[in-house]
């Protein structure tokens, strides 16, 4: 699946990284706890979260996450979006809740990676 596929499945808006949508993603992780993300996330991942602070961008950076999706209509501010752009990170936003957004991507073939 590409980031663009994920965007289309969720009907998400692109807030940063418009030119980076053709990257492949292999797994996803949904959490508001960054330490859990750091423990379990894989390469070429999407991170779905409702948490909106600079540590989300830094966590994504440490893990080489490809795309951040803010769920529940959360709106990152300009500082966060600028941080994301500097790091070549795609940022999407969807009104779907966490459970629904994860379910839609899972149904489309994206998984959470091996346990």
């Amino acid at each position: 699946m590409t980031v663009r596929d994920a965007k289309n499945i969720l009907g998400a808006r692109v807030l940063a990284g418009e030119d980076l949508l053709d990257q492949e993603v292999r797994s996803a992780c949904g959490s508001d706890m960054m330490s859990d993300v750091l423990a379990f996330s894989k390469d070429h991942s999407i991170l779905l979260t409702g948490l909106c602070n600079p540590q989300v961008i830094r966590t994504a950076e440490m893990l080489d996450i490809v795309c951040l999706i803010f769920v529940r209509g959360k709106k990152p501010d300009d500082t966060l979006l600028e941080m994301a752009r500097e790091r070549g990170l795609v940022v999407l936003a969807t009104g779907h809740r966490m459970f629904s957004a994860c379910g839609m991507l899972y149904e489309a073939g994206l998984n959470g990676g091996a346990v």
Binding site: A39, R58, T59, M62, L63
Partner: protein
């Protein structure tokens, strides 16, 4: 060691939003040096967790990263309260972080376990009321 490169960072305990800047810088430098992506990722995750811990629990401290052709050694030194029970702190899910930190996405009790998981060795030297020194090594 002739080939060693040493990077030092003073970590401020005042501003949680800036926590992780040192780890971010180390990650960038290691990438530029051509260190393998796998080793860079391990160092970045382990140091970031440690840096966050310093800000949450110890009001900041100092991080020294020494890079040689064989390994990357991170020393995280703080003058915080110390860890009363290291075995307990190493248990996944155990945390003493306040609720306000949890609302910022940390304090899940995964910090120390993650640091151990992503490094080849980790030593904790802690003294109550004096501080904690954590030494982590990732082999290249």
């Amino acid at each position: 060691m002739e080939d060693a490169i040493v990077l030092s960072y003073a970590i401020s305990g005042e501003d949680f939003t800036r926590a992780g800047e040192a780890s971010s810088d180390v990650k960038k430098k290691l990438k530029q040096m051509g260190v393998s992506p796998e080793a860079v990722r391990k160092v970045a995750i382990a140091m970031y967790e440690g840096e966050i811990n310093m800000v949450i629990h110890a009001n900041g401290g100092e991080i020294t990263v020494t890079i040689t052709p064989e390994e990357i050694c991170m020393v995280l030194d703080d003058v915080g309260p110390g860890i009363p029970d290291v075995d307990l702190a190493m248990q996944a899910g155990y945390s003493t972080a306040p609720d306000e930190i949890r609302s910022l996405g940390f304090g899940a009790g995964m910090g120390l376990p993650n640091m151990k998981k992503y490094t080849d060795s980790m030593e904790i030297d802690t003294r109550i009321g004096e501080g904690t020194k954590i030494t982590m090594v990732v082999k290249i």
